[in-house]
Assembly symmetry: D2
């Protein structure tokens, strides 16, 4: 059984484990004040080209989202998200549990635009409704799609105009930034968001997300709020060492590029085999449409999710690759797909 | 500079790191359903001698406390704690942030008793006050003291009588269970609490606390509540592998016993040198009383907290040992203490 | 300017004011333990034919909804509502502010059915999503429609089967129970819900909603939870006297019947004048469709909301009658409508 | 049975009821935008001599406290209060239910001073503890005592220096402002607090507290936050008419002065009868110390609370007078006290 179910099936990239072993016995300060966390923060500040960026290393995406959003908002302020947004679907109401309503917008390909948000803003105009205040976007999105630079610029300009904060969930930021044809850099994102996070868990780390806050109004006291939500690790070095390893020699980008390449190899090979796709995604999540009988056969040997029903006989499945996916695994899957197709469909 | 400031200054015990390396490349289920987490849970169930124990592996003490307590209580129900309880002092209001009031009881040596709680229960008798519902104790306590079996039995009986839940913070449970003269086992604790946790972070792990819930009324849907608070790690294997390593050959107890021995060696040597102690603590936190001038000298070479002012000239400091503390470090500290004493006080 | 904007534009029915004056100088217990609150509770228990019904007198609909729902649910449990449900639209995220997600279902005429909820229940099947636990319905709905007895029975049976609680917002319950052709009684509602409330504010009181809880599992400690949310009035007599006046001689039903009759008179007269309606509502909220030019003219002399855009030239407006609406006002409006129609449209 | 138990045993002052009757049939805007609320707000603005004061009419003290404090604070910020503060004792954890910790300071006579708060501020210096941000005081206090102008000035200066907000619970503000020897005016309080409220419920209204916010940073969006917590009454006129009646001819102060006079008459008469007092309170709450046998006798005919045990034979009781207390009732109580004393103690 080989899993394309997600990008957190394996442990950490060996370079990261090696760094953990290397620095293990040294005494360090606790709670994120260790030398490695400080170095990781410096590396991230360099990437966004601002030494005043406020950077915090956290454990997971849901934790980061709930800490950031609940720290940024007053109680009556709400968060706009695509209906497909991770906070709206698969975080067990974590944002609402901090008291804030989510306002959902149906968005093709999981990407928000000013046009899509406009009706919602018009509707929420008085004190009997929550006040929209923060726009949550993910990049790459839950559908594997990415924002182009001009899309982010437009969104940012619109948010500025409407007094909205903009926050990017970067659980798969590496995949977005290394996707074919992308024109966004981490610095672009920093400049066009109030805050975002750089996901480590799904890109080679054991765990870890780096929250980066540009808006100085939002920077105050974040360590209090992280501690209060249970997000301050006593051995913060665990996060510091990993992010140092990921960013000191651009390992982060290399791993993401590899994951994307594996997925796109899969796309090419499946297309050659006649497979069509639910949508066009240039990152490490792809959504081939398959005959349900083929899916049943493949499910014996591969882990993946059935993502959407297309019609009575076909469904879109989600396949996810990672830093650890090998080209052999990809090719074997394609072979098995073809065999399944031949044996069942014909 | 050598730190006796806390028990999380180093990384993980080498056996744990080795296990992480060994299992790194295998694919595993996410979110705590991996094979190692299942094995770790089985090991802990064996220790408490109940295959129905509900066990969840979490990241840190504050996270575990806030998830457990907020999951167990209705909104108007409150938590009783010693004024020294970690949730009352050093968790940035994490419990209140989930909506629950803490009711504090002044407790000598940080330990709660029925007699100490009785006035508070009498006072809280109607709907204009919160309803006391859960008793939080820590073992070992924040003062390094431990509960004896008969003390826990009395507390448990009292809680049963008063319809109170009892929950133990075991951030330093290993130290309690291996302290000189203890008569408590993990099974005793399981049977006399509704829930407790087994601390890994302060006893050799990189991070990790195992929440164990005996009361079946409290077991329902805990994975939902853990996810909602951001406590479900995608790579749950990180916790599973560590707890498996800690408990498959009793490494957990060996590490705690070592930390205790280092601290008690320090106690003996300091007592010989004429030093008295703020209180008697049989675990890895000790509180020698020193001349303030001596403290100043030692602070040049050692990390530790000044814990309490004793009088105009003396203070109690807290020294903490861990699995990684060497006897050499302990002996050197004692030598330096004596030198400081001779050079400054005389 | 005459307002058909809502049913809370006037003060209280004179009988209620008289009762407040009559009992003003007597000393009474505070916080809802006064003799009038006890009598009001007894009257409501008689109506639902259960002396064990748990009844609490509260100040307003949003307050009642947030207290009830947050008291009934654990943190990860969510509330299902029609997208038009008051809690989903016009309570400023009050439920989310207590930590609970709302799951919305698009429902024609604002009424939930098992079929409408089924897909949502299928989708929410694991711990990465909230757990649907309570079904919120309003009766009469925000669109003036009502539940028939067989509809409520089906919904209740379905909720029983799916382990869902069912809670009815009765801000306009009087209007539902006295609407033409209704076959529901307050006892029916009591038996087919876990809890519901009887709205006073919109039916002749100055303020006041009576929360009635049948499910004994939900009754415990509600006075604590009401106090905690700021809902326990020191002079609870203010609520008790009003509900006593409303229910001792069926004033409540007479007032609602009057409001309905005024609205239905309006419907008849407008239909005669050629007006069509957005939907068929048998209660005190009606939604005639008018030419936008007519609306503009009428808005000079009447208060009302434009509720929905029908097409480029027409909109549905909401007209609301109350216990205080006179037939003269209704007839005058119809005259003015006809005049506006003649002068602008032709 | 005559009650001195509290100051909310009777209904409203007749002038208030008359106003409610007088204005009952006029149509008014809902949700606090009615003409009476606007007039009441204007009257209060005049009293504090600032037309920019932000004024909101709410239903009760607990509701006002929880809305104000949760609106003013970020999640990690805490509220300092005397241990006797109403929010710390008799509001069922309402503030904690909004997520904020209370930090309690033992304060003689229920009054906070900079000296009393200083140790707490020194202790709370880092992110493992909550951040003290708001100082809650009540005036008159829960012990009937009052702040002098110089005391409030000192407190305010200290709060400015320490970046602390200062908020006054004025549930019994009338009694404070009309107490013998007071040198504080409502304008003084306005200038030396960030926000405070003017209690109506305990001073002649059926219900109602007027929250007045001076600090412009705290004014934004309060109507959203009031609605979200269930504090926006549909028929806001109920509050507006009452506050208009209380303040248009200084009825508010006359009622409070009367209540104080009744209490001080009682003090004088009881002192003459040899009774001593637990503490010196110049307002409508007094605390005579009585023989327990006398208390038992008086309890047959009078309602009051036993407030504190003084010694084995004596206790302090709390007697509360109100706008409705008559001098006859006071004199009769004193007679009965003397009789009880003679019959039981001798």
């Amino acid at each position: 059984m080989y899993s394309f179910r997600n990008d957190y099936s394996e442990g950490a990239h060996p370079d990261i484990l090696n760094a953990l072993v290397l620095h293990n016995s040294a005494q360090e300060e606790g709670y994120g004040l260790d030398s490695h966390s400080l170095k990781a923060i410096a590396l991230l500040r360099t990437l966004v080209e601002d030494q005043n960026a406020d950077v915090h290393l956290l454990s997971g995406g849901t934790q980061t989202n709930l800490i950031a959003i609940s720290s940024f908002l007053r109680p009556h302020e709400a968060c706009i998200t695509a209906t497909t947004g991770h906070i709206a679907t698969h975080e067990t109401g974590a944002i609402e549990a901090t008291g804030h309503k989510l306002l959902t917008v149906s968005a093709p390909e999981g990407k928000l635009t000013p046009d899509l948000m406009e009706p919602l803003l018009l509707e929420h105009h008085f004190e009997h409704m929550v006040k929209p205040r923060l726009v949550y976007i993910s990049n790459s999105t839950e559908l594997g799609t990415v924002y182009r630079k001009n899309e982010l610029v437009k969104l940012h300009d619109y948010c500025q105009e409407k007094n909205l904060l903009i926050y990017m969930d970067g659980a798969r930021l590496g995949n977005a930034l290394t996707s074919e044809g992308t024109d966004l850099t981490m610095r672009d994102i920093y400049q066009r968001t109030d805050a975002f996070f750089v996901g480590g868990t799904k890109n080679g780390a054991l765990l870890g997300e780096a929250l980066i806050v540009r808006n100085t109004d939002l920077q105050a006291d974040l360590r209090y709020l992280i501690k209060q939500r249970g997000g301050l690790l006593a051995k913060g070095r665990l996060l510091g060492i990993q992010f140092e390893a990921l960013f000191k020699d651009n390992l982060y980008f290399a791993l993401a590029r590899h994951a994307n390449a594996m997925a796109q190899n899969m796309v090419g090979a499946l297309q050659e085999a006649g497979c069509s796709f639910w949508l066009d995604s240039p990152t490490n999540q792809i959504f081939p449409i398959m005959d349900n009988r083929v899916i049943t056969v493949l499910a014996d040997n591969y882990g993946f999710y059935i993502w959407a029903k297309i019609n009575a006989t076909h469904s879109a499945v989600r396949l996810v690759t990672s830093w650890a996916t090998t080209n052999e695994a990809v090719q074997q899957f394609v072979v098995d797909y073809k065999n399944a197709l031949n044996s069942t469909v014909v």
